[in-house]
């Protein structure tokens, strides 16, 4: 219970609760999913990337050759910088893939969820 409250407070910082033009931001149902093995929360139907951004996640993947980090860049499914391993499938564009309850989201190393030292 206490844990959940902390999450909510953390989310306040990145989420816009009330907007001067758009008013109160409407969201779907609050759901749990896992990010790199950790249980976290987001709103059903929002892009996975939005839920992660609300948690302060910046790095979505590391490139295959140089192992350099990548995150959200275009946010409309065009650049593929934000791809991650979702439910075991690599190269999922998290900025246009809606969040569903119980999803497993993992940082992508090259094209795998295994960190490079284990590959």
């Amino acid at each position: 219970m206490e844990q959940e409250l902390i999450w909510d407070l953390e989310q306040e910082k990145q989420r816009i609760m009330v907007h001067p033009i758009l008013g109160r931001i409407e969201k779907g149902r609050r759901v749990k999913f896992t990010y790199d093995g950790r249980e976290v929360e987001g709103y059903e139907g929002e892009p996975i990337a939005a839920a992660l951004k609300a948690q302060g996640v910046m790095i979505h993947r590391y490139t295959a050759k140089k192992h350099s980090p990548r995150g959200i860049f275009c946010a409309i499914g065009r650049c593929t910088d934000c791809v991650m391993v979702v439910d075991g499938e690599p190269n999922i564009r998290t900025c246009i893939t809606p969040l569903r309850e119980g999803m497993t989201v993992q940082t992508q190393y090259g094209v795998s969820a295994e960190p490079f030292e284990n590959q």
């Binding site: 816009i16 758009l22 910046m58 275009c74 946010a75 900025c95």
Partner: protein, 534 residues
Amino acid sequence: MPLPERNDMKRYDLIVVGAGPSGLSAAIEASKRGVKTIVFDENARPGGQLFKQIHKFFGSKEHKAKIRGFVIGQQLLDEAGKAGVEVVLNATVIGLYQDKEIVVKTGDTVHHYKGDSIIIATGASENMVTFDGWTLPGVIGAGAAQTLMNLHGIKPGKRVLMLGSGNVGLVVSFQLMQAGCEVAALVDAAPEIGGYGVHAAKVARTGVPFYLSHTIVKAEGTDHVTGVTIAAVDDHFRFIPGTEKHFDVDTICVAVGLSPMSQLLKMAGCRMSDDPKRGGQVPIIDGHGETSIPGLFAAGDVSGIEEASSAMIEGRQAGIYAAEFLGFISKTEMDNGEEKLDAALDGLRQGMFAPKNRGKNIEKTEEGIDISRNLLCRGFIGDDEIERFPGVTHKAGVHPVIECTQNIPCNPCQDACAMHCIMVGKVITALPAVDPSLKCADCGMCVASCSGQAIFLVNEDCGDGTATVTLPYEFLPVPDEGTRGRALGRNGQEVCDAEVVKIRTSPAYDHTTLLTMSVPKEFAMKARFFKANA
């Protein structure tokens, strides 16, 4: 993964690629004329970028001026629904072949369709510039910032540096502040601001510094952005050593222009041209938006970068042209339908920011007034420059002061004033003039109707040594009446003490709050923004 299956090819009178402002408008007009139309869009929602536009649009009534972009988007969807337009989402058109056959990918399957005519309305994609560290998480496109904050309610960052002073860079900087982010600076390698002066001025007056003739040296950070270094550039865009400046930011937002997404047209074999005034590779089209391939049309940003208002008109015209091409209407019916649209489009293509004037060095307004150099180079009009514009007049009592100093196609202020104090006239790009002999009712409608947030209601002398300034305020929290703070000048610097004496909201103002502050009367023509004391 299942193998792609090939279904029987489906045929439509008209296939539209792209369900943005242009594509939807095209489909609406064609459907209304009995044309069997289908629209494909790769996104999960229709409307293109309209739903990310939360500012009031420019233009006149016929262009839906002073209505916010996302509201126009909803109106367009409603109209498409009524017209019975069929829109297929999450459907990427991956090929356009001979005889107007297209290939559409949905999920893991591919389908073929054939159109008797096709309208390509694929819009544009963002340009990028590279600099050290540009691939770090935290470097994002301006479109990404709009998507995150205006569609998904997520702040793109806490402290942001904006690169690019075109309208996108200026508008998104303002929107970032509306979302509760801090904008550390606005930077552009060009020596002059690319977008509308009014968009720059509303950002500058909140205190955001502009660095023209500057660009990014490097994005700092190992795993993600923790800062940025910029430096001045010379006439050849080379860094000038010793001019480096550092900012602590967690986000760098890049807004360096758009390019037409014309790949499908090129693939189909249309004659193309490389036209910098249109934003890059564009199809060569005739006066009816028809490419070199009969029955294949292009509309909106794909045929030349403009903005959503003109894209919607071009789309409507393309829909009418396609209906005529297909024989659903006669040539006379076509001409009747598009005459008004032609005039509306022509109106939007006037003024100093018109496509035909891109790259030109314009020093005087159409009225022959010197353009503010400060506005072009620093983002705000100098206190010594403001008096020469026709919207700035003086009289006893409350009166409008219109700081609109460039010829842009926009006139809602004229209609907003029931007392007829404000005059733009027949030429929609003319600078608004204020007639000081007419009475101002202090209704605030002009302030709220100005898409550029360039109108203030000023009482220069309240009789007790103070003056009042009413300004548009679109931020949260809205300060309460009685709140004390500092007035900021046009340049965002503090000029004097100020107290909020009136807060007005109204459905007619459409989410623009009118904040009236009291300042010492010598600052009546200098104080243009309010900052509450911490």
